[in-house]
Amino acid sequence: MIRLANVSHDYGGRGLLSGVDLHIAPGAFHFLTGPSGAGKSTLLKLCYGELRPRSGRIELFGQNLAALSRDALADTRRRIGVIHQDCQFLDHLTLAENVALPFIATGRPVPEADLHELLSWVGLEHAADALPPTLSGGERQRAALARAVIMSPEVVLADEPTGNVDWEMSQRLLTLLVELNRMGTAVMIATHDLTLIRNAKALVSARILRIADQTLQSAGSDL
């Protein structure tokens, strides 16, 4: 689905990623780890086309990212759910409207029943009309997860989804992501939380990748 071949990227003139190869296959579960500033977020942004690589080739669902028109890239992003650590909500919209934003932004009618079912799945049906600034960190992250999956994407990319929540909530989010993966969605989680990765081993067969020295390495046996 998402394939990076010999991708390199700079940030502010500094080399960040070099010769990265990655393939996210349907139904796969990846953890991406590495120290802060190693390039985890950058790699995720490359995976959903927010950033263009300095060199190398990125394919999104068989299409060369470099050749995608702006509209085609927008259409492709609908097949990828993204969760950010800071959630990236529109604070003037209610939680339900934020979760339904992918439908709103594509001009499709919001499936009310699915929306309520989704909010119930992440335990936020009581907060549908609340504005994002009034929600706790855990509620915001669960809402971000709901927004990421409302269009039934084929892959979910999560950037430090448990960075702002306590241990209990991080386990709950992990469980939700694992459930999603069991339904066939590929998941890649960028995190520096090794405890989360260790706990996930009991729930799902995940491939663990680490960014070190600008390269992407397999880190399964080290953790």
Binding site: R70, A74, R77, Q88, L90, H92, L101, A105, R147
Partner: protein, 296 residues
């Protein structure tokens, strides 16, 4: 996304995803209002100058003056000869010899009321009223030169031309003003839209993240600015028209009669709000797509 679509006021989701920012909204509404107010005046000036040109032209073109100079002993015979020539000239409706009181009235502004006109060897003045088609001035002059050498025909052309030219210039200036007003409004709205887009970069980023196309994002901004411009321009137009309606009315035959709107002309300002909306639509759309291209 057409202008007509924008005019369909549906508070749908595109308009909702961008938070309302009071500063740019108020700026756009006020700018559109002020520009519409000025546009009403420019439009009125254009219409009035056109009407003035027409009236001055009509008034002066349907009459002519013949000045007859001759020795006192010959003036009577010369006058009779000239009147006979005029009577047989096609295009002349009537003629009238100005009496002594009328001549005094003509000279009074320059020499005062006590001028002894009776003792002066003044030329005799004959007013000629023409048909709408007028007469052949060149042919008449040729005939007068042989039969009444002391007669000088003034068909008012030398007065009419500069007046009509001045009115035409006024009219041109008024239209230039309308164009400048439209350009200034487009520039102001482009700036306001640019500020709004810059202030909402995070909103644009989130919308892109969830798969919004540029057209959807642009529509959210375009709708807002178009509607604000329409509302502001409608207000400005109403105020401008009201100002003209409250102007003191000049006399029927006064020099400035016709300033402002008359008859169907009162409906002309109705085009200003949709035009302002159209300008806002084009300006915001251009600004939005430029920013979206830069931010991608």
């Amino acid at each position: 996304m057409s202008f007509v679509e924008i005019l369909r006021v549906r508070f749908d989701d595109a308009g909702k995803v961008v938070p309302s920012s009071g500063y740019t909204t108020v700026l756009t509404t006020l700018t559109a209002g002020a520009m519409a107010f000025l546009a009403v005046f420019a439009l009125a000036l254009s219409l009035s100058s056109g009407q003035l040109a027409q009236r001055w032209s009509d008034t002066l073109s349907q009459s002519a003056t013949l000045r007859l100079s001759a020795a006192p002993s010959e003036i009577g015979a010369q006058t009779a000869a000239v009147l006979e020539i005029l009577r047989t000239t096609p295009g002349v409706v009537s003629t009238r010899v100005l009496d002594i009181d009328e001549q005094r009235a003509l000279l009074e502004p320059w020499f005062g009321p006590d001028l002894p006109v009776e003792n002066l060897a003044l030329p005799r003045l004959i007013e000629i009223i023409e048909t709408p088609e007028g007469f052949d001035a060149a042919g008449l002059r040729l005939r007068l030169s042989t039969e009444a050498p002391g007669a000088v025909l003034d068909d008012h052309t030398r007065w009419r031309r500069p007046l009509v030219a001045a009115a035409a210039s006024l009219r041109g200036l008024a239209w230039v003003s309308v164009v400048l007003i439209a350009g200034a409004m487009a520039a102001m709205i482009t700036l306001a839209a640019g500020f709004s887009l810059a202030a909402n970069v995070q909103v644009i980023r989130v919308l892109r993240l969830v798969g919004a196309r540029d057209a959807f994002i642009a529509r959210a901004f375009v709708r807002r600015f178009t509607l604000r411009a329409l509302i502001g321009a409608a207000g400005g137009t109403v105020l401008g028209v009201a100002a003209f309606a409250l102007l003191p009315v000049a006399g029927e035959s006064g020099f400035l009669t016709g300033l402002g709107f008359q008859g169907a002309g009162w409906f002309l300002p109705l085009v200003i709000p949709p035009l302002a909306g159209l300008i806002a639509w084009a300006a915001t759309r251009t600004a939005a797509f430029r920013v979206l291209r830069r931010e991608s």
